[in-house]
């Protein structure tokens, strides 16, 4: 099962390398990883999505916590706490004049934002939970897609 793990780290050089290195050295599978600053500039937050059985996930959590620069680790999935999660995709596609109407209907249906539109190219953005992103991708893939770029998941607990 996939677990969403929230990791608070010191915002210092090399921290990302330590975390990425930990996953590769210990043979853990990492699904996605996002990192960014929090309201406190000395602290960054990471959201790690990882897969494994209970023992592996426990090891991942403990090994992350063992890193000196890691302040807090919380397996949100395991803790069964309420949390908001978001991913973002950017999709650039070729626009065939005959499909223009269908593209418009589809983007409206999935709530995609149109970021750029030129004569024959369209770039859209979709923000949502993982399943919404997956559904959007299925629908968008019927068009002539040039590039899909997907961020990792970011997650935030509903309450502190």
């Amino acid at each position: 099962m996939k677990h969403t793990i929230s990791v608070l780290v010191e915002n210092k050089p090399g921290v990302l390398a330590r975390i990425a290195g930990l996953f590769s050295a210990r043979g853990f599978n990492i699904d996605s990883l996002s990192v960014g600053r929090t309201e406190d500039p000395t602290i960054s937050e990471m959201t790690v999505v990882a897969e494994g059985n209970e023992r592996i996930l426990e090891q991942i959590t403990k090994q992350l916590y063992k890193l000196i620069d890691v302040i807090k680790v919380e397996d949100l999935t395991k803790a069964k706490v309420e949390f908001i999660e978001r991913e973002l995709i950017l999709v650039r596609m070729k626009v065939n004049p005959r499909e223009e109407k269908k593209i418009q209907e589809t983007t409206e249906e999935i709530g995609a934002q149109i970021l750029k539109k030129s004569k024959d190219v369209l770039i859209v953005e979709v923000v949502g939970e993982q399943n919404e992103i997956e559904t959007s991708l299925v629908l968008l893939k019927q068009f002539d897609i040039q590039r899909i770029f997907r961020t990792g998941k970011i997650a935030m607990k509903a309450s502190a």
């Binding site: 090399g14 330590r18 403990k62 063992k66 000196i68």
Partner: protein, 554 residues
């Protein structure tokens, strides 16, 4: 007080009470070495950086203090890598300083540049690249604190040369507080109660003690637990010395080359009390078949070791000394008379043994070293057969008397580690039990021992083979001795060339006299014991098997 970076470094080391630094100078270290030139800290020049790292490690193991070493940028630093990894695997407190090229040149493939923090990231507890002279004091304080607290380990500090030249205000922090690093020292009282209950209810308990008992200095507490409960004790390789092997409840070492009785006892136990040990594969063998009936209490300061290899019933995160102290207050003696009778029977029936026929035997040499030193010596080993015989045939009764590379299994560890141990314990007899293969992996450190007049006794168990690999080839590869035969130099003349004393022993009857002679010489002595070539370490569990499936002496 405004000081140069190099002065700040040396002042900080003084504040940390550092006695010795092991290492080799180099281009980017010149500012530091200029300050060391008239510093009260003693600098020990080794002949290879690996030797410096192992010497710092041996010093740390013998004393419990933080070992310190230093090497220059690039090759100097990469030469430390094996020594750092060795210390990391065995939780040894060390602070390692490496020189680095000027800040502006970092990343430019400058002369003698290597990404040392990158290279050592997975083999250190933590590491730093210092960018500002003003950060130096705080970083050093943190490095010593992290290295020596919690589960100890090596911490590396990479120092660009300009950081050591530039000036900054020096004030050494009194205390350090890291929001991201707070080791748990006290065990959870509820868990300790649960452990006491399981112990009371157990019928076939065993204590499995590891290096953590020694690191936590929990010798007395362990002894008290055993006295209160009469539970027999098996130790890991690194746990040797945590419980006196002469005690009737000692089962000596368990695992791949452990005693038959220790392995039988743990496999048949209904409760394992693991203290400062990590259920390493050399201990458990096939984990699926390991101790099938046993519940497990696991006491360790590092939560990642708990439940990593073996499911645990009562995890207790904490310092072994604190946890055992609390446990001893409430623990009650279980009713285990039948079990003790059974264990005693295994012990009587299956002692460690070897045949003295067929030439000089390495086990005999170890036994005689034990008798002559009365178990008071510090036994440092290399890795391989020599290490296992040293573990089996010397009885360890005191903490920090057995020093060996357990986790990483680093050949070439013994001689430099013995040097560090002798510096740390100048009044003790220090032996390096070596193989003819291992000793050549850091033989250059004989010079270091000779120049510093260290009376280390090096006993080479010379069987003309990379013995442990040969043994596996004998047992599992139809005696196809692929590249394990060694044509060796004349170790006696080699010792003499280095300025040490050399003896060769080929007959059993000369062993004791030679050892006695060596013990009376106040400088390094190399004893070349020509032992039976194809002697095996028994008992032995083939890798990946259940540990009660032991191969015994034919």
């Amino acid at each position: 007080m405004r000081l140069k970076g190099a002065q700040i470094l040396v002042e900080a080391l003084k504040k940390e009470g550092v006695e010795y630094i092991f290492g080799i100078p180099g281009g980017v270290l010149l500012p530091i070495f200029d300050v060391l030139y008239d510093s009260p800290i003693k600098f020990i020049l080794t002949r290879h950086e690996q030797g410096a790292a192992h010497a710092a490690d041996g010093y740390a193991r013998a004393t419990g203090k933080v070992g310190v070493c230093i090497a220059t940028s690039g090759p100097g630093a990469t030469n430390l890598v094996t020594g750092i990894a060795t210390a990391n695997m065995d939780s040894i407190p060390m602070v390692i300083f490496t020189g680095q090229v000027r800040k502006k040149l970092i990343g430019n493939d400058a002369f003698q540049e290597a990404d040392v923090t990158g290279i050592t990231r997975p083999i250190t507890k933590h590491n730093y690249l210092v960018k500002e002279t003003g950060d130096l004091a705080k970083v050093i304080k943190e490095a010593f604190y992290i290295a020596s607290s919690g589960r100890p380990g090596p911490v590396l500090v990479d120092l660009p040369v300009d950081v050591t030249i530039e000036e900054s205000e020096f004030e050494y922090p009194e205390k350090i507080e890291l929001r991201s690093y707070r080791p748990t020292y006290l065990g959870h009282p509820g868990q300790i109660k649960k452990a006491a209950r399981l112990i009371k209810e157990s019928k076939k308990p065993i204590i499995y003690a590891g290096g953590g008992v020694l690191i936590a200095n929990a010798i007395q507490e362990l002894k008290e637990l055993v006295e209160k409960t009469s539970i027999p004790v098996a130790t890991t390789l690194l746990g040797l010395g945590s419980f006196p092997e002469t005690h009737p409840l000692s089962l000596k070492m368990l695992g791949m080359h452990g005693t038959i009785y220790a392995n039988y006892a743990i496999m048949n136990s209904d409760l394992i009390i693991a203290i400062g040990a990590r259920f390493d594969d050399r201990v458990t063998g096939d984990t699926e078949k390991f101790a099938p009936e046993a519940k497990v209490i696991h006491i360790d300061i590092d939560p990642t070791t708990i439940g990593k290899n073996i499911p645990v019933d009562v995890p207790i995160v904490g310092d072994a000394k604190n946890v055992l102290k609390e446990l001893n207050k409430i623990v009650q003696k279980p009713d285990i008379e039948d079990w003790l009778t059974q264990v005693k029977e295994w012990k009587t029936k299956n002692p460690l043994r070897y045949s003295r026929k067929g030439g000089l035997k390495p086990q005999y040499v170890i036994e005689e070293i034990y008798k002559l030193t009365k178990g008071e010596a510090i036994i440092v080993t290399e890795v391989g057969q020599n290490q296992m015989w040293a573990a089996q045939f010397y009885s360890y009764t005191k903490p920090r008397t057995f020093i060996s590379s357990g986790g990483l299994g680093t050949m070439g560890y013994g001689l430099p580690a013995a040097i560090g141990a002798q510096f740390g314990s100048p009044d003790k007899v220090v032996f390096d039990i070596a193989g003819d293969g291992s000793i050549q992996m850091n033989i250059q450190e004989l010079t270091t021992a000779v120049l510093n007049k260290l009376p280390i006794k090096i006993a080479i168990l010379n069987n003309s083979y990379l013995g442990m690999v040969r043994q596996w080839q004998e047992l599992f590869y139809k005696k196809r001795y692929s590249h394990t035969y060694l044509l060796n130099p004349d170790f006696v003349r080699l010792a003499e060339a280095y300025g040490a004393v050399g003896f060769r022993v080929i007959r059993e009857e000369d062993v004791v006299a030679t050892l006695k002679k060596a013990l009376n010489i106040k400088k390094p002595v190399v004893m070349d014991f020509i032992v039976k070539e194809e002697e095996d370490v028994f008992p032995m569990v083939p890798a990946g098997e259940a540990i009660d499936r032991m191969i015994e002496m034919a």
